[in-house]
Every structure is written in C-alpha cells, then in structure tokens.
C-alpha cells in the first residue's frame, strides 16, 4: 500500500500537519484492554450500582420490555446502519420509521409525526420554536409554561430557546388540587400569547383540565403544546382530542415505550402536529412513495427544511434522530398492541393507587393534592424527604423523588410512583420500612 501511494513511511501522510504541533503519543490514556479484561471491569462497575426496588418516576419509568424488542433492535442490520440517505438501501429503517410515525399519530391522535428528536425535554424546546414560527396570529413570542411541567424540561427549554428572543412565562399551580387553573393562566397571559404548554399527567402525577385550557388557548389565538407520557395516553384522552379542536403540537418522551432506564438515556423525544404545521416540523420525516416500477417504497422527505439544505435558515440545526431507540419502541408497540398498552397503563394506575393508600395510612404521611392522578403522587412527610429516602435506600428501596429543590413551598414532599412491575409484596415492604423509619422521632421540627 505504501508503494501505491509512493511513500516509505506512514509518517509522510501527516507531513501537512505543522510538526511543532504534533504530539508524540497519547501518554495520558491508559493501555488498552482485551475484551476479557474490560468485561471484568464493567461487571465490577455494574455491580457497584445499587439494585434497589424502584418507586421513582419523575420522568423516567421502569416498565417491562419484551425480550424480543432489544434482541431485534441490536441486530447488526439495525444497529450498524446509517441514516437512510440512500433510500433504496435502507428500506428496513425507512419502513420501520414510517410505521413508528404511524403509531405515534394513532396514539396521540394527531395528523403527523416526525422521526423523533433527542428526548422529551429538547422536544419541548423544539415544539416552542415551532409554535413561534407557526403561529401567524401572534407576535408576542411569549409562551405560558405552568410549574406543573417537569422542572428539567423547563430548564432545558430555557437553555435552548433563550437566545432567540422568546419569553417563557411561568404560571403557578393551585396548591390544593396540584393542577394549574384557568384563572392563573388568564392572569399570566396578558394581551398576546403565542402558545400554552400543558403537561398531562403533570409532573406531580395529577390530571390537568386539558379541555378547558385548550379551548381557552384557541379562543385567544394561542397554540397548544402538549407534553404527555405516551404510555398514559393509551388510557387517557390523547392530545388530538383535547378541547374542541385538539392540541396543535404534541411532544413528550418516548422512554416508557420500550427504552430501558439505562442511567438516563438514550431515550427519544416524540413530536407530532396538525397538518397545518407540518412544514414547521424540525427533524427527519419519512414519506411513503413509489419507485419507477410503481412499487411501494419509503424515503426521507421534506428535507428542504433541514440543516443540510437550508443551512442558516433551517427549522433547526438538528441532524440525527434517535434511530435505534425508536426501532425498539416501534417493535415494543407492535408486540404489546393497543390492548397490551392499555392493560399496562391501567396496572400502573392501580398499583400507584394501592401504594398511596398503603403509605398515606402511616402516621406522618399524607397526600398533597386533591386532583385525580395517573401513576404518580406527591406525599407529604413529617420530616425532610431526603432523610427518609436515604433511610429507605439503605434498605434497597428507591422510595421516590425529593421535591425540596424544585418546589420548596410544599415543605417535606416526595413524588412516588408504582409501575406495573411493582408487586403487592414490594408495596407492603415499602410500607413496613417507611413505618419503621417514621416511628423514630424526628430530629427536625415539624413545619407549622
């Protein structure tokens, strides 16, 4: 090979690099490991992560995933394929993505879905950018975001949209119900609102009055952006059916549908919209068409909006989607089907109902809100939640999420969740452990 190039040493290949900038090697990198060695190391490290029973949700949920899902997803033909730019050589990925889009539109009852974005939080940011581009009737570029929207989603949205002259207006929730009320929305709105964000179920697990808020928004020329748990809408009213005309943009995180918890990712953000907004949609979209012989086939379409063509005028800078994860999610949805998803969602609701009943029966524990919930609930404690959660963790129970940092006004509060995986025994064990912990007199003063 060197002969073909006309050199005697590979060093000559790098002669164009300024020699005084060259490094002699990567001395700070440890020596390589054989597969056997790295396997040993990673097994050790995996074991160091505590294996606790999970009653923690807060945006990422532990669900059963059929064994076939990731077996198929990690087939080399899916795992090591690239973005389907050569459509004829990528009909597997393209058709699967079209099926994914079809399933998401059916689940959300919206017209169009894209091929996914990075995660739910960044999808919300993109939905906001989309609403600003798409709402011709509003000039304010103001977006109403209730505090019942996931705190991490609000922070991420802020990071991403703040450079583009968009104002995110916070709306407080009603302390008694744990939901956002119309009068608070009206008060925060002022003259001109571009969009309203509604999360259903809310971050607290409570169910918002989606119809009333949706209709109000449309009457006031604002677009509605929904953030939903995609498993929950197997049994809850989907965004496309909210109010008289449905949400305009629906987003959320697809993790509950076939993505393992995996330390926080990769998940995916789904994004759906009405037909009117399709050209404002960022990210990739697959369309069905025919080939020269009239045979059905699939291609990436509407690419003219994307970065590689539009460049500085693109709808977004987004390039990748979460291809591997939506592959898993599509197969997951196909295997479970609508009935499987309904049964799973209902079981989550029932288990959480049972969990809350058991735990709120303990002295020192009460439910925070009056509104109905889906599969999470906020519990108030007689002492700081972090103390309690620490003690539970020592007994291999991940009890929930401490709300002190994001919602200090709630006092000692934690968000608990029970999915379909939690058994009666596990719930009873949680109750027993919590009861014992709270029986010990607290060192802290009670909040008046």
């Amino acid at each position: 090979m060197l002969e073909a190039i006309g050199i005697t040493d590979t060093d000559a290949l790098f002669e164009e690099i300024p020699s005084h900038l060259r490094i002699s090697g990567l001395d700070g990198i440890p020596q390589g490991m054989t597969e056997m060695e790295i396997s040993r190391l990673m097994h050790q490290r995996a074991a160091q992560n505590n294996q606790a029973v999970c009653f923690l949700g807060a945006g990422a949920y532990e669900h059963h995933i059929p064994a076939a899902v990731w077996q198929l997803t990690t087939r080399g033909e899916f795992y090591t394929a690239y973005t389907p730019y050569q459509a004829e050589a990528s009909q597997g990925t393209l058709q699967l993505t079209y099926e994914y889009q079809s399933m998401m539109t059916a689940l959300t009852d919206m017209d169009v879905s894209n091929a996914s974005l990075y995660d739910g939080a960044s999808a919300l940011a993109e939905a906001i950018l989309m609403a600003v581009r798409g709402n011709r009737k509003s000039k304010s570029r103001k977006i109403l975001i209730p505090r019942t929207v996931h705190p991490a989603y609000r922070k991420t949205a802020d990071t991403i949209v703040s450079g583009q002259n968009i104002e995110l207006v916070e709306v407080d929730y009603d302390r008694a119900s744990g939901t956002v009320q119309l009068d608070a929305i009206e008060k925060a709105a002022g003259d001109d609102i571009t969009a309203v964000v509604i999360q259903q179920p809310s971050f607290f697990g409570t169910l918002e009055d989606v119809d009333t808020i949706t209709d109000w928004a449309h009457q006031n020329n604002a677009l509605v952006i929904s953030v939903t748990n995609p498993l929950s809408i197997a049994v809850l009213k989907p965004p496309g059916q909210w109010g008289d005309s449905g949400a305009d943009i629906a987003c959320g995180d697809g993790q509950p549908l076939g993505a393992p918890l995996s330390c926080g990712g990769p998940y995916y953000g789904f994004l759906c919209c009405t037909k009117a907004l399709v050209r404002q949609m960022p990210g990739r979209i697959v369309g069905r068409t025919t080939d020269v012989d009239g045979k059905e086939g699939f291609v990436l379409t509407l690419q003219a909006r994307e970065q590689h063509i539009r460049r500085s005028k693109a709808t977004s800078n987004i390039c990748t989607n979460q291809g591997l994860v939506i592959t898993a999610s599509t197969i997951h949805m196909a295997i479970l089907g609508p009935r499987g998803l309904e049964h799973t969602a209902a079981a989550c609701h029932a288990n959480t109902r049972e969990l809350v009943a058991q735990l709120s029966g303990i002295e020192g524990v009460s439910t925070a809100f009056s509104a109905p919930v889906f599969h999470e609930s906020v519990l108030l404690l007689d002492r700081p939640a972090d103390e309690v959660l620490d003690a539970l963790a020592e007994q291999d129970i991940l009890g929930g999420y401490d709300l002190a940092a994001d919602y200090p006004e709630l006092g000692h509060a934690m968000l608990v969740c029970a999915t379909e995986l939690r058994t009666e025994e596990e719930i009873v064990a949680y109750r027993t452990a919590l009861q014992a912990i709270l029986a010990v007199e607290t060192r802290h003063q009670e909040i008046a």
Partner: protein, 481 residues
Amino acid sequence: MLIHEHSQPGRRGAPQAPVDKADLSDIPRHLLRQDRAGLPEVSELQAVRHYTRLSKKNFSIDTHFYPLGSCTMKYNPRACNTLAMLPGFLSRHPLTPDKYSQGFLVCMYELQSMLCEAMGMAAFSLAPMAGAQGEFSGIKMISAYHKANNDDARKEILVPDAAHGTNPATATMCGYTVREIPTLDNGDVDLDALRQATGPQTAGLMLTNPSTLGVFERHIESIAAIVHEAGGLLYYDGANLNAILGKIRPGDMGFDVIHTNLHKTFSTPHGGGGPGSGAVGVAERLKPFLPLPMVAENNGRYHCVAEQDAPHSIGYLSAFMGNAGVLLRAYIYMRMLGKAGMERVAEFATLNANYMMAVAKRRGFQLAIPERRASHEFIITLKKEASELHVTAMDFAKRLLDLGYHAPTTYFPLLVPECLLIEPTESEAKEALDGFMDALEQIREEAKTDPEMVTTAPHTLPVKRLDEVSAARNLDLAWKA
C-alpha cells in the same frame, strides 16, 4: 407490507402485559380515552418475523463496506453493546442518588478525562446528545463568555463556505448572523478574506480540521491568531477527528471549544440515524460555562456537579444524563483501544484513504484536490464523466449499491460538483478497498457501453429509484385506517 396490514382485532403478544385491565373508574370520564388507539394488533411471532425481514432490507456496516465520507463508519465492537447493557447499568434510574451510582459515575468521569487528554482540552461535558447539540453548546458558551465580559457588539459568527449545514444553522439558533468565508481551490480557508471579515463584531469562527474537503487546514495557527486578535473565539467541529487522533490535538491548535461526535470517532452505533452524542470540551477560559450534567471527583468518590456549584453554566440540554448508554459504549471502546490503539486509529484511517486516493488517480479518476495528502477521506469529482458520459455522481452511487457497496457521501461538500466523499475508516482490510475501486471502474466502463444500466440503477435492491418529488408533493407520512 406494513405491520398495520397484518393487523387483526384481538391479536397481541398476550404474555407481555398484565392479563386483566385494572379499574380506572376513579379517573373522571372526560379525561379518559373513549376510543382504542389505532395501533396494529399482531401476534408476537408476526411482529418478530416482520421486523426481522425488514432488517434484511438494510445495508449496514455489519453487512457492507460503507465508505460514507464524514460519517466514520467503522466497526462497532459488540462488547460495547453487551457491557453497556449489563443489568447494573440498564436498570439504573437516572435520579438514583450518587452514593449508589459509583460504578456508572466513575465511567463517566474517566470518559471526560480521556477526552480531555485526547483532545488537549481543559474540561469536558458529556451532556450534548448529538453533534448538533454539541455545536449548540459550543456557540452558546462563546455567547455566554462575551456576555460575561460585557462584550455586546459581537453579533457575527464566521463559517467557511465548505462547512456542514449544522454550523450556520446552529449560529442562527443562538441568535447570531452568519458570515461565510471562502475556501481556496487547494482546500485552505482564504486567509485574506478571513482577515477582512474579522473585527469587533466577530464572536467567533467555526472550523472543521481536517476540513470537509478532506484536507488539513495548514494555516490553522494563522487562523487562530487572526480570530483571537480580533477578540473572537475558535470553535472546532469534531466530525473529522478520526483523521488526527493521536497525531495532533484541537486544544494545541488553538481551539477554545470543541465538540466530538462519539458516534463517529468513538464507534458508538449509528442505529439507522441515531442516537449520537456530541460531548463538548473547552479551554480553561470557557470552563465556567459548560453545560450540565458533569461528573466531578472528590477523594475517590464521584458525584454530579450541583447546579449551585456551576452558576455560570449555560444550563441543561436534556432531562437527565444525555445519551448515557451511548456514553458507556464510547467509554468501553476507548478502554479497549487504550493508548496504543487510539494512536493507530488516525494512522490506518489516513493510510487507507491515501491508498484509495492513489488507486483512484492511477485509474484515471479526477481528484478534487490532487496535489494534497488526503486526511481520513478524499473527494473524487465526476464532473468529467457527467458531461461526457451523462452519468452523474448520483447514478454512480446507485449503481454501487447493486455491486454490494454502500455509496460514499454524494454532493457534499457543496463546493465540489458531482463529488463523492470517500472515507474508508481504519477498520477495513485492503481487499475491501481494492474491491470498491474495482467497482467504481466497472461503473465507469458501464457508463460508456451500457449507460442505462447506470442511470436507472439500482436494479437488485428491494426497490428501484424512488420518486422523491411525489413524496414531497403528495405527503403520505402515516398510515391511516
């Protein structure tokens, strides 16, 4: 056939969900779904068969030589997948307290450190979930830096005209106007044009090195000096890191902020389009602005940096830990390669590219920049073949598919007409490279003797050429009952 077309009411993978549907009557009726979601109803076997068969319609690294320029389609070691999916990682909730997550956090910390070392940067954040998000973070940090210095006049970002589309799109997303700098025919950025374009309005310059033209930006030190003297910062697009790993480091070239594409250089799976990961690294002066989360170490214990300890951070880019599973795979890959392995990456990637380029030249193909060394990729222009034989780069690409090769990147960079951007990577054996060049030559011959074979290719794939115009005019984006 679509999965939906196999659907029959009542079918499902019965053992995969609870047998009964629990009572939902405590939820107000108007909040409940009254219809059934129009998802397909199939048996588990039908689903497994359907998706297995679909997978076989794909080209992939595992099945085909995939010399896509700028994408770095190297072998994805299977151990990375198996080990990243060990139960201890797979079932860990992202909000599990740090105390109980040491096994995961140490991997993240070591990944940050190894990236710093390999790139010559002071600190790294693993938060961005893709190259484009990495770019976004980088430009946002530049913006935060200037703001912190009360430098409000800097409204422009400079971008070479050969740049990847995400670069100008990112600058716009961060509120900047974009100014393009021309590239000379020899592949270098036009220094005079750059000098004229920089001034007190310059926030920074975005650069890929080696550039998208497949050659090293020889005047990088002058470029850095020009931009820094004007008070701007230098951003590095890490798409082509595979060409220089272990040879030179972006930090040493003068870059203030860089993003890496872990799914390119560090072999995390492309997965049919993602997930990627765009870990972002900075020089000392940008450290305060790094996005969260980041992992820190204290006396051998690891923790996520708290928000209050990073008051100047540009913020969060995701709800949790970015594409954590992807980060684990990159970590495992880097540990397997180690020092010696990583030093061999650029060596062999560059050797393979230069070898192919030499063969291409010998066989009469026109190189875009013949007088220069290739980096890890090089460009052939089929301008001559297009005008004389009336076959385009697109036709060549489609015919390559018939011959069992995934086509190289076509029509990028935009500067070179009818181009093929070819990146073999270090994973390939010489036979694969030779076979590909043979195929190219065969297609050129076919273009002379049987042009229709080429212009109507592909012939042997599940579909022939697809009607993209119709797809865009008559949008069919979802199956409806």
